[in-house]
């Protein structure tokens, strides 16, 4: 696969075109927004929380396929997880995005292997300018989580 085809994998285009959990939440929830000033991508996140578990998620946003797919996949991945698990996921995601290019990108033992669909975003690493696109949803999530912890 060419780097371009690795970047725009089927699953990414699918999440871009059919974002999961799109909308906003009613009732009590935390809300966070992220903006990528250098390209204008926007992402917003609602989290319903019970105790330390995320029970529901809604996302909004506009921007490139990478930023929007990353957000959609993230939303899928965090529902039902508790704060610690989500923080671990954020850590793993960031680690995945910074693994040296030389690394075998499909080694199932590598950090990030637990990320499921999100693994598809590894192709972004060959396009350093776009890493911040993939990261936007996760920065917003970090924000939202801090708010959720503060509320708890």
């Amino acid at each position: 696969m060419s780097p371009l085809d690795e970047l725009y994998r089927e699953v990414i285009l699918d999440h871009y075109r059919n974002p999961r959990h799109r909308g906003s939440l009613n009732g009590p929830h935390v809300h966070a927004e992220g903006l990528n000033p250098s390209c204008g991508d926007e992402f917003a996140l609602d989290l319903s929380v019970e105790g330390d578990t995320i029970t529901d998620v809604a996302i909004q946003g506009q921007g490139c396929s990478i930023s929007q797919a990353s957000g959609s996949m993230m939303a899928d991945a965090i529902v039902g997880r508790n704060f610690d698990e989500v923080e671990d996921m954020i850590r793993k995601f960031r680690l995945m995005m910074t693994i040296d290019e030389g690394d075998n990108p499909v080694d199932p033992e590598r950090p990030g292997a637990v990320l499921g669909d999100l693994e598809a975003l590894q192709g972004v690493r060959k396009f350093p300018v776009r890493i911040k696109c993939a990261d936007l949803a996760w920065t917003t999530l970090t924000d939202a989580l801090a708010k959720a912890r503060a509320n708890a």
Binding site: P3, L4, C39, C64, I66, V129, R130, C133
Partner: protein, 409 residues
């Protein structure tokens, strides 16, 4: 087609390759590449003549001053200025527009006065007016666009009343490529109290400009968009307007006397050039207009027009591609903004970049226009003298590949 391809060897950067693919630079509306003639003029200035200008009694400083003032004369004559003192060197078009907003507008606008803009303006020709409107209580009014992405003048009579004190219009849009209705607005302002400020950042590099026949009060432009160095631009003004205008920056070189509490300004243009000016950049700017003069601005315009026509033709062959800009090359320049299917502009730019093609994607510092067009972002290819039909072909091919990558049938 006007064949300027021999010029390409003057531009060292065009020899760059990315992953074995030769660079196709289609982002000249953001900044142009520089010919060796400009690079070497700057280089030679530092190696042979560098000194601070004005006030120096020694020969080296006289040489630097001559080089600097000759550059002013060249740039002034390039736009047909009657006098070279009517040309103020600034940091760029943005600073030039701010100088007019703060130096002329701030001192003359009153509550209820109006500043007339068009929705296709670049942020640099909107934000300074918003700032002085806020400080003075003046109001901004905008002209919209017609179906061909040209400024719609049908509303002009309604909005142009005695409250309008400033008309600020782009000579050419950096997004749609459409030329602004400068002549029409100058005519409308004629006999009123309104002045006309032309944002020439995209006009001066791409067509012959003659300020005397243009009739505007002020014209702003940037060197880096016309083969020149970064860090310098110019504000041209009618003599009377420049006399009326107050300096926005205070400091060395712009005074004739400084007392403890008050100062008197130096004559135009120096009163607007506080501090050490961008000397080496002025020399490079002079070399850039020399280079353009040698080609001839009519040739520059014709080349671009032919290339743009060819690009519009090739792009029209690509399914699901929508161009935001006039279809006819008459009255438009070489900036071509487009969308392709549901592929986001940044994804287009990434795919093109993978093919070695540099285009810009985003709001192009024209958010009000993007909202007006109901698009969050466009991809934009823009052409200059060094671009070729073969490069347009590579653009078209790469766009077809973008369709493939995104699975557009």
């Amino acid at each position: 087609m006007t064949d300027l391809s021999a010029l390409r060897s003057d531009f060292p950067i065009l020899k760059r390759t990315f992953d074995g693919r030769e660079l196709v630079y289609l982002d000249s509306a953001a900044t142009t590449q520089k010919p060796v003639q400009v690079i070497e003029a700057v280089d030679a200035y530092y190696r042979e003549k560098n000194a601070n200008v004005h006030r120096g009694t020694y020969r080296l400083s006289a040489e630097a001053t001559d080089a600097f003032e000759q550059a002013r004369a060249k740039v002034a004559s390039f736009i047909g200025s009657p006098k070279s003192e009517q040309l103020v060197f600034t940091r760029g078009a943005t600073t030039a527009l701010n100088f007019v907003a703060y130096g002329w507008g701030l001192h003359r606008l009153r509550e209820g006065d109006r500043i007339l803009l068009t929705v296709m303006e670049h942020h640099s020709n909107i934000v300074p007016w918003q700032m002085v409107a806020k400080l003075t209580g003046a109001e901004l009014v905008y002209l919209g666009l017609d179906d061909d992405y040209r400024v719609d003048l049908t509303e002009l009579d309604r909005v142009f009343d005695e409250r309008v004190k400033i008309v600020a219009v782009s000579g050419m849009s950096n997004v749609t490529g459409a030329r602004g209705p400068v002549a029409e607005l100058v005519a409308a302002a004629d006999g009123t109290n309104a002045i006309v400020v032309v944002d020439g950042a995209q006009l001066v590099p791409h067509d012959r400009v003659d300020v005397a026949s243009m009739g505007a009060d002020f014209l702003a432009f940037s060197a880096h968009k016309m083969l020149g160095p970064t860090g310098i631009g110019a504000l041209w003004g009618k003599e009377e307007r420049l006399e009326e205008m107050e300096p926005t920056e205070g400091g060395g070189e712009m005074i004739s006397d400084v007392g403890l509490t008050e100062s008197r300004w130096a004559p135009v243009p120096h009163k607007f050039e506080a501090g050490t000016p961008p000397i080496a950049q002025a020399v490079g700017f002079g070399a850039a207009v020399d280079y353009l003069d040698k080609i001839g601005m009519d040739t520059v315009r014709d080349h671009e027009r032919e290339l743009t026509a060819y690009a519009l033709e090739r792009l029209a062959e690509i399914p699901d591609l929508r161009v935001y800009g006039p279809r006819d090359v008459e009255g438009r320049g070489g900036a071509v903004s487009f969308e392709l299917g549901d592929i986001h502009a940044h994804d287009i730019a990434t795919i093109l970049d993978d093919h070695g093609i540099a285009v810009r994607a985003g709001h192009h510092c024209a958010k009000p226009l993007m909202r007006h067009l109901h698009v969050p972002a466009t991809a934009r290819a823009s052409f200059y003298i060094y671009n070729t039909p073969a490069e347009v072909d590579r653009l078209a091919e790469a766009l077809l590949d973008a369709r493939r990558v995104f699975g557009l049938a």
